[in-house]
Symmetry: C2
Subunit: 550 residues, 2 copies
Amino acid sequence: MSKYTIGLDFGTLDSRAVLVNVGTGEELATAVYSYPDGVIDEVLPNSKIKLGFDWALQNPDDYLGVLKCAIPEVLKKSNVSPKDIIGIGVDFTSCTILPIDKQGTPLCMKDKWKSNPHSWVKLWKHHSAEPYANKLKDIALKRQEKFIHRYGDKISSEWMLPKIWQILEEAPEVYEAADRFIEAGDWIILQLTGQERRSSCNAGYKAIWDKKEGYPSPKFFAALHPKLKNIVKEKLSKDIYPIGSKAGSLTPKMAQFTGLNENIPIAVGIIDAHSAVPAATVTNPGKMVLIMGTSTCHMLLSKEQKLIPGIPGVVKDGILPGYFGYEAGQAAVGDIFDWFMSNCIPVTYEREAKERGLDIYRLLEEKASKLKPGENGLIALDWWNGNRSILNNTDLSGLLIGLTLNTKPEEIYRALIESTAFGTRIIIETFVNNGLPIEELYACGGMPHKDKLLMQIYADVTDREIKIVSSRQASALGAAMFGALAAGSKAGGYNSIKDAVEYMASLEKKAYLPILENVEVYNQLFAEYRRLHDYFGLEDNQVMERLKRR
Amino acid sequence: MSKYTIGLDFGTLDSRAVLVNVGTGEELATAVYSYPDGVIDEVLPNSKIKLGFDWALQNPDDYLGVLKCAIPEVLKKSNVSPKDIIGIGVDFTSCTILPIDKQGTPLCMKDKWKSNPHSWVKLWKHHSAEPYANKLKDIALKRQEKFIHRYGDKISSEWMLPKIWQILEEAPEVYEAADRFIEAGDWIILQLTGQERRSSCNAGYKAIWDKKEGYPSPKFFAALHPKLKNIVKEKLSKDIYPIGSKAGSLTPKMAQFTGLNENIPIAVGIIDAHSAVPAATVTNPGKMVLIMGTSTCHMLLSKEQKLIPGIPGVVKDGILPGYFGYEAGQAAVGDIFDWFMSNCIPVTYEREAKERGLDIYRLLEEKASKLKPGENGLIALDWWNGNRSILNNTDLSGLLIGLTLNTKPEEIYRALIESTAFGTRIIIETFVNNGLPIEELYACGGMPHKDKLLMQIYADVTDREIKIVSSRQASALGAAMFGALAAGSKAGGYNSIKDAVEYMASLEKKAYLPILENVEVYNQLFAEYRRLHDYFGLEDNQVMERLKRR
């Protein structure tokens, strides 16, 4: 008798529920639920209350809609009986936080607070806490706080504490009224289980928490603002649970709400990119997982904790239990290609694509495939959305060099692909040079399945084999795998992530192998990239910052 | 009774004859003659003889076609009687050379030689003499030849001596058979007058000749190749005539050929860009003339001879009699904008232009005009076709910096315009810093009439008033003015170029004045441009050269 788990993958614009066969990994049904309020970045819903620059909010009611609509839909589509669902896992964007009251109700759902933008969910890409992030970093460095080194001496404005500090400064009444601040992923676990079981992944990567060291000290917080002194005791929780453990069981109320049976085990929540690691079959060191989409996340496991310059997070139990999880990233990858396709494709190319019935991406890929490495004579720096690793500087920008009167769009497109591959190589080399070897790459996301040229260039540039993850929705599959772990073997699930991987995760047959002659050319071009990277990214010429801040 | 002159302007793809009223400058009629063989860069006409890489030839018969067709056409169009035509001036592309026999017949017109590509006209953009240009420069520097400093320590592969040396090395039989090598502009004068009257403009800018120093010494030429030792005596001419003087009179044969009267005075030939200076009303120092088209030439007069680093030519009587003429240039300007319009304009913009009945240039100008200086956050280096002045390096290439996911095509377009203005400012500052003040700019060519945004940006970037030359065909008008000078006042022409300017040349009423607040912003952006210019253009990072030479 087959058993099933459900993976819930909460994204930026929508969420998906995937119902997976625990014994085979088969994804029987998928349901996508688009958030009615989407990303709230101009006006609060049903109001005329305008938001400031760089704000991005969400409505927690939209998250509940996923539970109410998408779960019943996968049950119906798959024709699986609720009694055969043995576990649920959840992955979520991060850092996405909200203030809640003692009962766990979001303040923005209460009449008293709903008109105050600070009572709503602050989405990961809410960037208006930037000044607080910078102050926090400066004070930490001045006080020589050890924790700051764990994050490459930088604090992102996306993270939890700058966002909370922003609330305290700009809406002290909301800060006071909040019983706690919580990651939306942890809040969903609270809704499903009735219990607060904060995740080591969220806390470690986004809330400056460490399994050994805990949170920063009250002295440090007091140096930010007197009222923040006891923030951990007053507004957060010290109870942090490792990835791979069980958070609790489905409450009767939620069973009714979702159409599932009571008491189904629920896994501790995980960040969306991190959830893809086991779905990529990776459970040990030396294998880097690339989650490639609008941006790219690079995930690596290690038995050791190393402080790697420019890598903004290393968290014990942050990805898989028992390992230190490392996360690096490129702030724009698919986004750069989308920008190019929207802004730089001449009408003659659009016409050719139309006449030949080709997607414009496929036409450009076809043309770019005919070029030999280096033949375009171009090099780009892939910083269209700043640099997340290793330079950690949002004020950096994109660069194209080598343009001539003969430069063709496909040559620029190929240079853009190559630049993102060079960016990944910089990250790989940083890990390797700091004692974390990387033997193979594992790629998941939409692009690795479609873009053959892109994957070959990545293999050639990094001089490493790249395996392609079978699942097209690796994060959701990973969540379902954690659901099977929460269920345990007695219920038909698994007791170890290795077992879950063996049965539930798989790779495509075709892997991409580096081609020796291309590797040699790209070694030379990478030296050029590295030199430009250092010149513009380190202290030599901060022209990009000056141009952005004009 | 009105008198008229004809200006003949020999271009790269076609030539024009313009019939001008000597008393008013009115351009009564224009005829354009397209060369049947155009630019010959693949196969010799009527043959299967293939040309090498970077070859560019022309057929001298096409030049005769201009005389035969365009001159009668302007007579007919204007209804002016041949007896009222008092003079002819000629401007020509340069350095465009050909081997001729004793009678002045091009070798390529003779059956014996027509199958040998080296017997044809080598057009200015025939670039395959590059190795000879480099060797010539190296030997000159090694021998500490004084002349090399007059050309900024560089010799262009476009110039006469590298081209002749290429013929000697690659087709010694053509070298032997040639009675002389001559500029095509001087050859046309020879055709019209029956007399060889080589121009100081051609010889000074393109054949390493100087009014005081003459040509390089036989010792130097012998160091290149033993057979070149007496090249001046054997294959050139030492008789060089200043610009503004009369070369001779129309021969009976040519009178019949063109439909003009015998004995019309013909002016000494001039290079096309140089011919525009008097048409821009400029007859004295401190005023720089910009001839703006696919590329831009910068012309300046001075009473003094200064050796200015990176300025490839200073020639006594080279532009106007009595002055040292300085020429600088940008290798691509309009060409960059054309590249952009052909390769980087998305279909949505094409559609909007079509719907609104706008030229795509006007749509982009409209959108770019709405941006404030610096708002695009971009800086470009305008080296899509290398750098002609001050760096004199064809291996440099274009650069764009500051790209983000929000960058729009009009922002890039504006950055491209700004980069060409910065390039002009570099040239201006080089002159000024070497003791040649520049008070005002004078712009001619198609763009200054059409592109208001471009001209305002040039005024703001250079912080100088820019006057717009009325004539849309300034080079041809300049040639007609030299025709009036050759005629002299007794025949109804003029005895001085100042008189010719007073009556024949004019400026538009509207000039462009720098806007103070824009000047300040552009001063800051120019500092960024200068820093990038020096980093990539001088020795710091020769990545552009390496990318090109891959």
